[in-house]
Amino acid sequence: MIYILKRLGLLLFTLWIAATFNFILPRLVPGDPVGAMMARYQGQMTPEAAEALKKAYGLDNLGSPLQEYFHYLVNILHGDFGRSVSHFPSPVSEVIGNAAPWTIGLIGVTTILSFLIGSLLGLFSAWRKGTFIADILPPLALFINAMPYFWFAQLLVYFFALKRDWFPLSGNLDAFVGDAWTPKWIASMLQHALLPGLTIVVTAAGGWLITMRNNVMSVLSEDYLAFARAKGLSEGRILNRYVLKNAMLPSLTAFGMALGFVVGGAILVETVFSYPGLGFYLYTAVNALDYPLMQAIFLMIATSVLVANFIVDLLYAVIDPRVRDGKAR
């Protein structure tokens, strides 16, 4: 119980830090952000947009910084992030609402897939160490892990969408595809998701492989494993109850983090494929100096990472009896 409260405390504290950071950052920019944006849009910005911006930054009532700060905190607690500049007059929350399902669907599924595939290969590579395939896997994984993943995405686009038009170049759906969840819609959706999905599965699996391999290697050198062997247990049982159960724990933390990052999307993959998820919008927001959207997405990413982390911590307590009793970690 104390463990859970401690974790919850850390969650709230970190959230508050992230929100405060988000508040301070635009104020550190030389000159005020609204002025910078007005200059950039050179009169193209409508007076309404300018007004909304001022409001979003609390510049309309010009209270003390402290008042502005509390105003800001109250607003974000209500889910009010103001209006997007690049998608004016849509509220930021609406832009995010449209983008989020695409990101969560694409990145969520592929993150889970790459975790499973990578971890299984990592387990294999450690367990069968000394055989050719098991030993060739780690260096291969290191290389894959070191590839810039957007670069890998570009190569996929070049070979499978440009040279042969097996897959669409960009976007999430064909135009005029009709209602959602019809067979035609689903086919189009899958076709668009395949290349970006493949990018993520392949490039992320390398990292999972190495993580899992290291975990298993370290469990293999534990005394309790030597003891299990001395007991004459079957390999299957050792693998299941002794190796996996212990080796999974550290991987789980990382997986929780990765799940949290899902909301942020694989920014660069979404950018390369112009896939209209949160990562893509974050990128366009940065380019368009759309501070309200940028801040909101950033805050959302931070929140989801933190919440995912919190859930992993709870899960940890279920799996690891030592954590439950507050003895470890």
Binding site: W151, M217, A226, R229, S234, N246, V286, M294, A302, R322
Partner: protein
Amino acid sequence: MTTTAATPAPASRNWLRDSVIGLMWRSPQGRVGLIILLTMFFLGLFAPLITPYDPSVGAFATNLPPGAGHPLGTTALGQDIFAQLLYGARLTLLIGLASGAISTLIGTTMGLTAAYFGGRIGAVINLITNVVLVVPGLPMLIVVSAFLRGTGVLSIILVIALTGWPWGARVLRSQALTLRERDFVHAATMSGESHVRIVFKEMLPNLAGIIAANFFSTALYAVLSEASLSFLGIGDVSKVTWGTMLYWAQAKQALLQGSWWWVAAPGLGIALLGTAFALLNFGIDEISNPKSGHRTKAPKALDPVDGTPVNGNGALLSITNLNAGYSTPEGNVRAVRDVTLDIAPGEFVGLAGESGCGKSTLAFAATRLLESPGVVFSGQSRLNGKDLLRMNAEELRQIRWKEYSLVFQASMNVLNPVIKIREQVYDAMQAHGVKDAATLDRRARELFELVGIRESYLDAYPHQLSGGMKQRVVIAIALALEPKLVVMDEPTTALDVVVQRQILQEINDVRRRLNISIIFITHDLSLLVEMSDRMAIMYAGEIVELASADDIYMRPKHPYTQKLMTAFPPLSGDRERREGIPGRPPSLSLELSGCPFFDRCSLRIEGKCDTQKPALVQVEVGHQVACFLHSGAVDAGKTLNPDLGVNA
């Protein structure tokens, strides 16, 4: 004493081996990584000598494919891609190495401080670390850089370094925490050395491997982050890095133009550089972190033995000419040398000797539990006539625990921390055919009663038990299938004296009731004298004396045994000053031509003991000793083939 080993390497070479560069070079992965890294470094450094072209000036036809004059073609702006790649290596490497260095510096400082001071300072640093750790990296980088737009390479380096340190801090902290508990740090603290001195002189050198590994993993992070940021056009795109090359390729739609080489070249460069960093990290980790281990599964079976098996003396376990030890990069260590020993049914045999004399290695090798890098070089170990060293994995699995079991030295960690004790008692029985739930439960309760633990602890997890209770659980598990042989490797050393006595009493009772043979390893001689039927005294991997416990205690023959007996207090009698044995045993990686105890022996015969090896022979009924004072028998030199134990 003469040795046939090569002379030790000069100190300077050892220093190089142990330095960080030595660490990088020692593993094959690290070596490949270092070569890639250095190649890139020199290509960048000597770029002006390698290519005549300026990387930023577009002086050529645009979008030329790779060919003569332009090995990697040209860009849409007419720049030579090969020249860009060479010059780009400079900034790319600079950003990677500089961010890696700054971030490692921050991480190391934070981690060490948190571990060293603990308490409130530690807690605050932990909090900061955790907060930065969960703040999403790339979005954070993008947002921060957006506000720092156009401020150049330095701010990119700083931003990457400031987001990349927490993981390293965490790893370092946990390593430093374990280090802090070590004796030498305690000793330094006690002797009143300053904090700074302890941290820098005592702790830091021991963490060098981890810090280096950490540096390369953050360098990898930095290179990839730079590539991502540049690709998005954040940072200074007028400078040539591999990241900005990708940016321009994308901006000028290189792929749509079919100039795939423009994209492929810098990306491959980044991937290779990243791989080099990752390989270095991996290689250093593999060597400096013993936990990442080189252990493999059940050691290989020996080849079928030539000649006829020697048995039929009614022994339960019959160890014959066993040679075992460890295989290290420096050569083989022969920790067990030509040992022959029989254990009769129901017999309690004590193995004694200073630490490092090969007692545990002997027990583990004989029971086929020696794990890599441990190796059994040759010999036999026959349990009920079957040679354990030549069984296949399944045969071995079947007799393990059923016919012999072990109580490990470090029983603190031999129970699986994440499953209940009940399951760990059950699975040993289940693996050997006991499947019925009621039987399992009854037997588990019986065993716990036998070793004096409440039944309710069956449903506890290992961490909920004290050290003494864990030890009893392990003993209970060892007796579960009533094996005929139990090997106990210092089973009670970690316990306090009262508990120790209690447990030993129980072990002894059980042994007599079930007629179990016990091999008991300890350096506590008085304990052995009291408990054993027979005792074997080991020195430098050999048994130098073997006799009944009485004879060893009252009439020790080998000078080493005599010294041992005076070095330990007797069971009763006056307190008197004990003297240790001056000197140290010879290194187990040496081949000796004489008696291993020669150097420390006060009764040595010059010219004989150092050139000839005394054989272990019976000098009285049931009393064997290997010493020229008692018998002239020379060990005819069961010398092993020269590749064993010699530093080639």
